[in-house]
């Protein structure tokens, strides 16, 4: 969803990392033009993008046309569920979403209890760069409003998880009932240095589209 829920500070750091290149991204879109993941794209660091709504960043379209970017388009719910399945140790799942559409072409379709379902495989990443709100020193995380989105799902589905947060508090300061991502999922914490709408510039010029 644009830049909301994006770890902008970490992405900024990736820009200057010379060996961070040829990346495959799993993200609903690829940021905004020139911002967040969109900036990494412009720097030629992304080779393959898995997502559900690239249309909101015209740079994706252009790189795709030049053959500089491979894309894999997945319905948003299937993307979220595939990431969850990756984190939950499942081998795959069946969903009704996409049956009868072009995205089902060449895919396994199965009739279950009289309805048609598409088979989908789990998605996992080597590294997840996620955005949360508060972390305790153990790595327990809470999120902020709709910046939660794919972050808790992705936190479970990667070998290494780096969480960018607004605030780091002592272990014990988060109510155990309110922890959304428990600490075993989180490997590194980074304090955010980029505030949306201030350091990242206006966001709302690109409204419309997932």
């Amino acid at each position: 969803f644009g830049l909301v829920g994006s770890p902008l500070t970490i992405l900024e750091a990736l820009l200057s990392a010379e060996n961070a290149t040829g990346l495959t991204t799993i993200s609903n879109n690829v940021g905004e033009p020139g911002k967040g993941l969109g900036r990494l794209l412009l720097e030629g660091k992304i080779r393959r993008a898995i997502g559900s709504y690239f249309t909101s960043n015209p740079d994706v379209m252009e790189r795709y046309r030049c053959g500089e970017l491979e894309t894999r388009l997945v319905p948003q719910g299937t993307l979220a569920e595939a990431i969850r399945a990756g984190g939950a140790g499942l081998g795959g799942f069946y969903t009704k979403t996409g049956v009868g559409s072009d995205l089902a072409e060449g895919r396994e379709v199965r009739e279950i209890d009289g309805e048609l379902y598409l088979f989908e495989m789990p998605l996992r990443a080597d590294i997840a760069l996620i955005r949360a709100h508060r972390a305790d020193t153990l790595g327990n995380l809470t999120y902020y409003k709709t910046a939660r989105n794919f972050n808790p799902d992705m936190a479970a589905a990667a070998e290494v998880v780096v969480a960018e947060v607004d605030e780091i508090v002592e272990a014990g300061a988060l109510d155990p009932e309110h922890v959304v991502t428990p600490h075993p999922y989180v490997d590194f914490l980074v304090r955010s240095e980029i505030r949306l709408g201030i350091d990242a510039g206006p966001l709302l010029d690109q409204a419309g589209g997932g």
Binding site: V4, S52, K96, V99, S101, K145, F150, P152
Partner: protein, 218 residues
């Protein structure tokens, strides 16, 4: 009517079909406007697929929270009794049948009520979002669309030339000229909009349709 007035008119006509307590999800464009026309006394709950139930109206200028947005990336507010959740939980809610009404836009609708709203042939297919999930998951699917394209071509056609969003037909199709329901036989004209005429609808709707028994004498 201006284009904007037409869009609001369609949204208003859709909103009349909402019932108290409905959990609704609104697509981008005309569907988003439905929130402004919910009849008084009808309390509905807005689900946005990026992970919120109970999205409230657009915030006043100066009160925008940049991390509180709907799936169309527009700023919203928190309604009383709202809840946040992750994307996988949001789509579990959608696919699991817990959204009462999804209002979707459409590029085309076919004779069986199936919709095409995500891709245009000849262009690279780079966006699908939550449309396919909402189509299969919502208890009721309402299409909110202008009757014709900007080039004045009919959108309710025999066969879609654009790729279908899914096999499931919509339940209701609302344009500025007419309202159709959908049954196993296909489209059923339920209403001709005030200011339009049966003849206009007939001549601008290439898809075959039957007339509802409750359709007022035309």
């Amino acid at each position: 009517m201006s284009a904007s007035a037409v869009m609001h008119d369609i949204a208003r006509r859709v909103a009349r079909h909402l019932e108290p307590g409905d959990v609704i999800n609104l697509g981008i464009g005309i569907p988003t406007l439905v929130a402004d026309h919910v009849p008084e006394g009808v309390k509905v709950f807005l689900q946005t697929e990026n992970g919120m139930l109970g999205a409230g109206p657009t915030p006043e200028p100066g009160k925008v929270d940049l991390e509180l947005i709907n799936a169309g990336k527009l700023p919203v507010t928190e309604d009383v009794g709202a809840a946040y959740f992750s994307s996988s939980e949001s789509f579990a809610m959608i696919r699991g049948g817990h959204v009462s009404v999804a209002v979707l836009g459409a590029l085309q609708v076919d004779r069986l009520g199936r919709i095409a709203n995500w891709a245009i042939p000849g262009k690279p297919i780079l966006g699908v979002g939550g449309a396919m999930d909402l189509l299969v998951g919502a208890k009721t699917v309402v299409v909110a669309t202008t009757h014709l394209t900007k080039k004045e071509e009919p959108k309710i056609v025999e066969e879609c030339s654009f790729p279908l969003t899914g096999a499931r037909p919509a339940d209701l199709i609302v344009t500025e000229h007419a309202t159709f329901s959908v049954d196993e036989g296909g489209l059923v004209l339920e209403e001709v909009a005030p200011g339009s005429s049966y003849e206009w609808v007939r001549s601008h709707t290439p898809a075959p349709f039957r007339n509802s028994p409750t359709l007022e004498a035309v």
